[in-house]
Amino acid sequence: MVALIRRRFLGTKISLNSHRHKLQWSVKQVTKSNFSDSLQEFKSHLSASDFVAVSLQNTGSFSAPWNRVSSFDSPETAYLKVRRAAERFQLLQFAICPFTISGSKVTAHPYNFHLFPRDELNIGMPSYSFSCQTSYLTAMARQGFDFNACIYDGISYLSRAQELAAIVRMANPINLNYVVEASSSPPTVADTVFVERVKSRIKHWKKSCIDSTSKKIDDALVKSLQKLVLGGEQYGSRPCMTIAVCSERQVQLVSEMLREFFDDLVALKIPTKGGGTQAVRVVLTSSKEDKSLLERELQNAEEEQNKKMRGFREVIELVSASQKPVVSHNTLNDFSVIHSKFIAPLPLDVNEFLNSLQSNFPLIFDVNHMMKGIGPLENVTSIPAAVSHLKNRFFAPIEMELSHGALLDESKIHGQTVVRICYLFAKLCSVLKITPGSIQSSDGKVLDGYANAFRSCSGNSVESLDGGIRIWTNSPRKVDCKDLVFLVGIQEQAVCWNA
């Protein structure tokens, strides 16, 4: 142990001297160890808030200059570029902040979740490998990012699509009552024979079980011998029996028969690794209470398993279920990452992507896009720049109130951006004369012009889905894709003659 502690002597002390930001707020840092507690807290904060701001920290974005979303890109191309980056790089921090605006006061509850795609279930998910961009990692290091905390204690997750695949792969027994619906077709002769045979088998087995327990054998040896002779299996402390089935139809028949004739048995479906059903396991309970106890146990176990599989996705599910408006700074990037890591692999088509997103997050605001409502500000793309721009031009005092108080502990510095987004959003609402209260009441009609507009980059927005793209960031001229020529392989020296 001494040696292990010693091993970390080097880089564990991270200097945070490089932080020069004036605004410093305390953000709750969440890792594996405090995840379940924080989740409860987050849940209550979320339900009490009007908006949710998000900000993501990835291991990279664009590998080469031409990968970057440019103003020459049509919405489809921009999406494909972003899609490529979202699939390639890994999300390491997810800062999320439920907040409420009342007048000039913002009440915010910032959380910063540390993520790592750990293969908790040993099934090669959520990701086999991921890319890192050196420049991103060094920039994160400069901000005092703790990579050890992230890799050692980061929270894992599975996307919805991956969870479905994992359930099939894990093949855990499932309570039949939840799975099987009543059959519609009339039973054939073979079905009746099968049902009768299983019924008599179960009756016989049940009788022998009850007999043996009522006889009260005290001798442990005799008991275990009897168990051997009877061939009884055990499910936990309860006796059980396995019935082999060869089709889903038979599963259905067994379940119906059990519901009809036995009220003290619980049936479990034993799936194969491929997703089919291998057998039905019947567990004998001693009473009605015992039965409901077992059923509850099973349900809890399943929930526990699901929780373990979902991991951090639970947070995303909460936000999605709350249907609260989500505010982000670079929505196209952020939501392509959210979609690919927590919902499903990104579709090839941009409209398909937007539809899928819409169904999960009905209202999305891009502060960057909202900035355009103030005027043509092509150079104001970063959050600090936007904040100082607004400060210089408009009088809109915003008072921030944070649940976790002011910054006292330096380790709570990560994820500050999300608070800045809240701040900027509130300021923008005030400048643009939008009363945030009306957003809920009128179902987003007021902010309609700003909601769900996907800014891909400075100067170009995906809202213009008419196939035209804008060229030169400072002129509003639109050019049709047909009029553009693609030149590749130009010598480096020749690139910028007349720029």
Partner: protein, 681 residues
């Protein structure tokens, strides 16, 4: 048991215990020498002298991952060239996080080896912007988790790791420095950049610049002499002296220039700035070479390099510090042999020699088990088997001022410690082979030892089936049969008989595919099937003709759409219409691609295979040509990419909304970018 034989041993143990209790070593568990950016320069100076004095140097590395996709793992059905492609892919994609170097020197006075374990944290930063593409590396989630389990310090690595430039990158940086656009490297202030672009057109200008260059050079030399010797002599004519006056510019000596026209001034400035910046850039490049100085040191000292199952380590060294990996194993080994003329792999050594096999009691030859079996004194601090007392090679560890003869930091999977273990295993193995270090004089070179010669420069290309490559000749050989009893006998695989199948319905298991084919081509047609992953499988036929038979049959079945073809036993395999089949050569092409998709079927699609059945040359000429051209576009040569690109742009013009082609374009440009980057290096 004879008591008289017992006694001395017990006395020996007692004396050992006593000596340990009263030993003057400060602590046997001090950490090994960690080297980061902050102490790199001083550590390098020390290491230089240690390596120079060493008899051999053990190395080991920790990487961010091993395989970029499950199907890139090592398989029994991998041919020699494919094994190399897999090693190459791994070395190209993953980064080295830690580099362990441990020089061992025999001290004849102490009758023991002196080891200096060094643990370098390595992290390639882009310190000199060579091109605008960014450095990128892959992390395998399970490997990162594994490192985390052993408390690897990722912060030390990313915050404080030492950066490096490969030889190719250094040359590139120097080329840019000499070229007229060298100022890119040096970031001069804005107004100066304008003047540097002044073209020298007039003869008078050229003469003037040359004269000034000479004057400035003289001035500089004078100043430098001044620093060493006495006061400077007045040689300069008065009129020029008025124009040149030594002043101080930001604490550095500078010249103040009077009496020149502004045009002349700008020319002077241009020269001055150029030489100054050139020197500064030179220093910057030297600093940026960083960790590669260690590799250069190992190479230039011509010492014996010892590693454990080290082909991947050597491939990483080649791709990170020397040059991009060549496309064939033969070129690779000849290049490695040039830089490191003598390498010994302890895994080869342990498996090849019978006496060592006996010593190892035929247990696993993994590094940690070899270490604890061969060097129990160092690993556990005592001799495990008291009865069979055997001489153990003593190793004394020096880390800075601390030294210990029974050192054990216990930090497994830390490159520096693993290198130390490898060195200990090697020293012990040498002693078992009958190399007596006590007779061994310091002048005698271990690389010339005839007992080691037959193990020298041999590496496992793949441990899985004992394929060994000779670094001197590039010859490959199977492991000597019977040398390792654990292994099942080597089975000869005829790669011509192998068929590659992918994209079949996911419910089919390899055994079901075998049954399916046996129903069609005869019960003895298939020797075995081997699953690559859940989407792909190898089918080994008994005869090579059966491969082309199968491919033809598949093609005809897919083209005809009548009832009979639906009842055909193969239709189960072809269900879904996405089943692809090809010969073994296609497998090589897919492995050679720089792309790595998780599933094999996705990979094949990403590589650009658009046909469903590869027809072999003996068949219809026309369709063969067709497949060939597809194959070419799948290959990753620039021309092929060019071809596919032009095709894609046409498609885009025709149908700009076709997303698939947009994606194709992105992918093919990515290839171009990759090629550009690798050729630039």
């Amino acid at each position: 048991m004879n008591t008289t034989r017992h006694w001395p041993q017990r006395a020996f143990i007692l004396s050992r215990a006593l000596s340990r209790a009263f030993s003057d070593t400060p602590s046997p568990t001090f950490p090994l020498k960690h080297v980061t950016r902050s102490n790199f320069e001083s550590a390098l100076v020390e290491l230089r002298s240690h390596v120079r004095a060493a008899d051999f140097v053990a190395i080991d590395m920790e990487m961010t991952g091993v395989t970029s996709a499950p199907w890139r793992e090592s398989f029994e059905f991998d041919r020699f060239d494919i094994r190399y492609l897999k090693v190459k892919d791994s070395a190209e994609k993953f980064a080295v996080l830690q580099f362990g170097v441990c020089p061992f020197r025999w001290d004849s006075l102490k009758q023991s080896f002196i080891a200096h374990p060094h643990n370098f944290f390595v992290f390639a930063r882009q310190e000199i912007p060579l091109d605008r593409t960014s450095y990128e590396f892959l992390c395998q989630t399970t490997s990162m988790d594994f490192l985390a389990k052993y408390q690897f310090d990722f912060n030390a690595c990313i915050h404080e790791g030492i950066s490096y430039l490969s030889r190719g990158q250094e040359d590139e940086a120097r080329k840019r420095l000499i070229s007229p656009k060298g100022d890119q490297l040096t970031h001069p202030s804005h107004n100066l950049r304008e003047t540097t672009d002044l073209p020298l057109v007039r003869v008078a200008d050229v003469l003037f610049t040359e004269r000034m260059k000479k004057r400035l050079g003289e001035w500089r030399d004078d100043l430098l002499q001044n620093r060493v010797g006495g006061p400077q002599e007045e040689k300069v004519p008065d009129d020029l002296n008025q124009q040149f006056r030594t002043v101080f510019f930001k604490m550095r000596p500078a010249l103040s220039l009077d009496g020149f026209t502004s045009h002349q001034l700008s020319l002077i400035r241009m020269e001055e700035v150029k030489t100054d910046h050139q020197r500064r850039a030179e220093m910057k490049i030297n600093a940026a070479v960083g960790f590669r100085h260690v590799i250069d040191l190992l190479s230039s000292e011509n010492k014996l390099i010892v590693g454990h199952n080290c082909i991947l380590d050597i491939a990483h060294v080649h791709s990170k510090f020397l040059a991009p990996l060549p496309s064939t194993a033969e070129e690779f080994v000849s290049c490695v042999n040039k830089y490191f003329p003598s390498i010994i792999d302890t895994k080869i050594l342990l498996n090849a020699d019978y006496t060592l096999q006996r010593k190892m009691k035929r247990s696993s030859t993994s590094l940690s088990s070899a270490f604890s079996l061969l060097c129990p004194e160092i690993a556990h601090g005592f001799t495990r088997n008291v009865l069979s007392y055997e001489p153990c090679v003593k190793v004394e560890v020096h880390v800075d001022e601390m030294r210990s003869s029974n050192w054990n930091s216990g930090a497994k999977h830390e490159a520096g410690y693993d290198a130390f273990m490898t060195g200990c295993v090697f020293a012990q193995a040498c002693s078992h082979l009958g190399i007596d270090f006590q007779l061994h004089s310091p002048s005698e070179n271990l690389t010339q030892n005839e007992k080691l010669q037959k193990h020298m420069n041999l590496l496992y290309l793949s441990w899985i089936n004992g394929d060994i490559i000779d670094l001197r000749t590039g010859n490959r050989s199977a492991e000597l049969s019977g040398s390792n009893m654990i292994r099942k006998p080597y089975r000869k695989i005829l790669f011509k008989n192998i068929l590659l199948l992918w994209g079949f319905p996911s419910k089919l298991k390899p055994s079901m595919i075998r049954d399916c084919i046996c129903k069609t081509l005869g019960p003895t047609s298939v020797i075995c099937t081997y699953g690559i992953d859940q989407t792909a499988v190898f089918v080994q036929f008994s005869k090579a003709e059966l491969v082309s038979d199968f491919l033809n049959l598949k093609e005809t079945l897919e083209q005809s759409n009548d009832a009979i073809s639906h009842l055909h036993p193969l239709s189960q395999l072809l269900e879904g219409g996405n089943t692809h089949a090809a010969s073994y050569e296609t497998y090589k092409e897919i492995c050679a691609s720089p792309i790595s998709k998780v599933l094999f079927a996705d990979q094949a699609e990403a590589v650009g295979i658009k046909w469903k059945t590869e027809l072999l040359p003996s068949d219809k000429e026309e369709s063969h040509d067709n497949t060939r051209s597809h194959l070419e576009s799948a290959m990753d040569s620039p021309q092929a990419v060019e071809k596919s690109k032009s095709r894609n742009t046409e498609d885009v013009v025709n149908d700009s909304s076709n997303k698939r082609f947009c994606d194709d374009i992105i992918d093919s440009f990515l290839k171009v970018e990759k090629i550009r980057r690798t050729t630039n290096l």
